[in-house]
């Protein structure tokens, strides 16, 4: 069951990485950002369910929700930067990679202690989606549209 969950959570990311080969860096960056938003969106109902079932402490809730907030705010900043890059520069992926690196560094120092087992795959998917942006942008080759 855990393997199935992991597969279903990571499948969209794998598909995104494969499909990004035909995208330009701007579109790949935005697709990656959307993937992060979707991963956060998938984690939120699990936190709610754990709250309802009394399977998560207040401290854990604060940690996890703080992390998801930080990721979401950093994701918004990332898109803002990418939009500015798109309107001001050419098609090269390097500036987009720098923006993705800033995004990753903004959230990677956030540690969450004792995450409930049911939630861990969802947080892993958020992390994988953030890291996936750099790979997607690196593989992007198309022309912006």
């Amino acid at each position: 069951m855990v393997t199935r969950k992991r597969f279903l959570l990571l499948f969209p990311l794998l598909f995104l990485l494969v499909s990004s080969c035909s995208q330009d860096p701007y579109t790949a960056a935005m697709a990656g950002s959307k993937d992060v938003s979707d991963a956060v969106s998938s984690a939120i109902p699990i936190v709610h369910q754990l709250q309802v079932d009394n399977l998560i402490s207040q401290a854990q809730q604060n940690d996890v929700l703080g992390y998801l907030t930080k990721v979401t705010l950093a994701n918004q900043d990332f898109r803002q930067t990418v939009k500015q890059l798109h309107s001001s520069i050419g098609t090269g992926p390097a500036p987009y990679l720098n923006a993705a690196d800033v995004f990753l560094k903004a959230v990677q120092n956030q540690t969450i202690v004792n995450v409930p087992a049911k939630l861990q795959p969802y947080l892993n998917a958020v992390d994988a989606a953030i890291r996936g942006i750099e790979i997607a942008v690196s593989n992007a080759k198309g022309v912006p549209h």
Partner: protein, 61 residues
Amino acid sequence: MDPTLAVNLGLSILDSVLGEIAKLKAQHGLTGDQLAAMADTQDLDNLAAIKALLNPAPITQ
């Protein structure tokens, strides 16, 4: 494992995968601007949902 259970599990996984493929295929044809707009909306929804979880409404009697 019970063969019926295994088949049902397999069909369930296949159904989920096909659903994901359809969703991602639809997303794949979108432009960067369209994806950005979708992510903007999704993030606002996420922040609202997180806020609601951090500050649950008091139970009225």
